[in-house]
Symmetry: none
Subunit: 193 residues, 4 copies
Amino acid sequence: MKKDKPKYRQIIDAAIIVIAENGYHQSQVSKIAKQAGVADGTIYLYFKNKEDILISVFEEKMDMFADNLKEIVKEDASASEKLYKMIENHFTVLSSNHHLATVTQLELRQSNLALRQKINAVLKNYLIFLDEILTEGIENGELDNRIDIRLARQMVFGTIDETTTTWVMNEYKYDLVNLTEKVHRLLFNGLKA
Amino acid sequence: MKKDKPKYRQIIDAAIIVIAENGYHQSQVSKIAKQAGVADGTIYLYFKNKEDILISVFEEKMDMFADNLKEIVKEDASASEKLYKMIENHFTVLSSNHHLATVTQLELRQSNLALRQKINAVLKNYLIFLDEILTEGIENGELDNRIDIRLARQMVFGTIDETTTTWVMNEYKYDLVNLTEKVHRLLFNGLKA
Amino acid sequence: MKKDKPKYRQIIDAAIIVIAENGYHQSQVSKIAKQAGVADGTIYLYFKNKEDILISVFEEKMDMFADNLKEIVKEDASASEKLYKMIENHFTVLSSNHHLATVTQLELRQSNLALRQKINAVLKNYLIFLDEILTEGIENGELDNRIDIRLARQMVFGTIDETTTTWVMNEYKYDLVNLTEKVHRLLFNGLKA
Amino acid sequence: MKKDKPKYRQIIDAAIIVIAENGYHQSQVSKIAKQAGVADGTIYLYFKNKEDILISVFEEKMDMFADNLKEIVKEDASASEKLYKMIENHFTVLSSNHHLATVTQLELRQSNLALRQKINAVLKNYLIFLDEILTEGIENGELDNRIDIRLARQMVFGTIDETTTTWVMNEYKYDLVNLTEKVHRLLFNGLKA
DNA sequence: GATGAATGAGGATTCATTCAT
DNA sequence: TATGAATGAATCCTCATTCAT
């Protein structure tokens, strides 16, 4: 499996650094190769093309979010608590890796539509778990049963995403994790029964 | 004033059509010129460069949103009603112009960071009016005085934006304006006292 | 018409020189542009792509052969005389332009199959006139009526071509036109009644 | 001797198959290695470089032609008969191996000049025997003593070659060996006393 | 003001060859 | 002998912008 070889991760990590530091349009394959300490051609032993590197960056990192979220969903807790943990996890992961935050919130969005659609497919995994939290909350009477799951998901994701993007655009100059409680309150108030 | 000359608007309108139909990365200056019925060089008599065309597209159209919103804010109505009208206006304008919706929600986001930052500056105008609604609502006791205005604004804008983008990505196949009430309820519940 | 503009011919002529002097595989577009005294991009205002330059080189020059041959065919002369003039014309044109001879006999044959097939299509024009000479000669009893036109054409063209290629590979060190008479005798003996 | 080891022939045979099926420009060393069932690196234990493989392909197969021709020359027969057998042999060998015919008539000609010059050196062996037939024929009065041996050789070889190439380009859809008699008549008529 | 021909910088990708194992 | 992962040089084409007319 290519993904288990050390060079695969080396290149993924190099891509995040290069994109964060140079911007999407200034991240040539040769720059990524240099940062990864491999030859240009080596990139193509592990990735089909440049786009494939970018999708892989997203997949690898999104899996981390999804895995964490999966754990959270499994826990024995209220929907409110799970939502809280989800927001906290999202903010914590990105707070601890500014490069990754820049890449996901700003740079990757400059990619073409085809790539963005693939990225959205990856996002689906994440949103499935969010849907579970919402469904569960409605069933146990904690959330308003008149809410439309799809819209609710868009509110939650849109708010988290917009909050994170604003934080990145303000160059991380305030503490993102500190906002968890307020964001949670806004969102939960909107959803609760 | 260049903006008042007919060719200025011709080019702006051509740009929206070309970008919506061909995608951001396939919208060469020569294509826009052809659609506008002018020579390539003429573009540069009205716009500094290509980026300037795109910013102007956004400015022109955003002004329409902002102007509408300004009227809404001035009305004698509750914060809830104003929020409702704002969402409704946003959805109505984009519903009536799919080209414009595609351009603002998908295509323009593929532009580089510099352009996106300028677009954000334009957005500020819009968000200022949103802030007014929120501030007013807090002052008259309609909204929870513990809410953080900035976060609230991000929730409102993030939700509207995410909802619109999802609608565009689903190729307008359901009615966006119909969602106004549900979106309003979700948001207002999150904000109310 | 692009073909009538001076830059079109400038580029064609530059291509012949560059290919003859550097070989097919060392004839980069930028080299041709430099030789032609235009920018790289200008090439693409006149030619679809690199292959199109090469096909055009062949077309332009082959037309010269075909035009001359057309005149010869029209003359009031025996098949033997027409064949003689055809060989003489072929040898004379290439003798007077060593660059062109190198390009058609050696370099252009290194191109890929697709290009060679297009070149063959161009050759058809030339061979049609050759067929006319042969048919006429059979009809007036000058040539053996048992000959297969297609094979005869292949003998004539194959011999002329092989003779020319050998001359180019020997670096033009003997006089090609001087061989006309001997080549004509060999071929005509093979064909005559 | 490397040539006697089984892998040497394996690689030669693999090269013919790969080139015939994929075309010269799509016949990467790795593809030939795979077809031969060896590792890429192994190729370089038997051949100096890629060009060396191609020359060897030609050498091996040309030797077959030359060996056959040698036998023909030795026979006690007229020049006319020997010429007939030579043409017949040439057509028969290539008719029975379409892969080889495609490779020698079309694909190998796409190689660079250096390779083609080496191929010509290999051809010399073949042409020496042809020269012998011609010299003998002149000496015994069968052929016209005014013919130029070099030109005669070019006519014979050019005609055979052009006939074969046309047959390959027409995708072997008629019988090449059937043309022997007609080709022989054309050529011999050109040469006879 | 208007034109459109000309410019030229910039980058993803392939593949023959090597060499440590 | 045999392997195959790694190397890195090399090039066609696009398109925003200019400027002579």
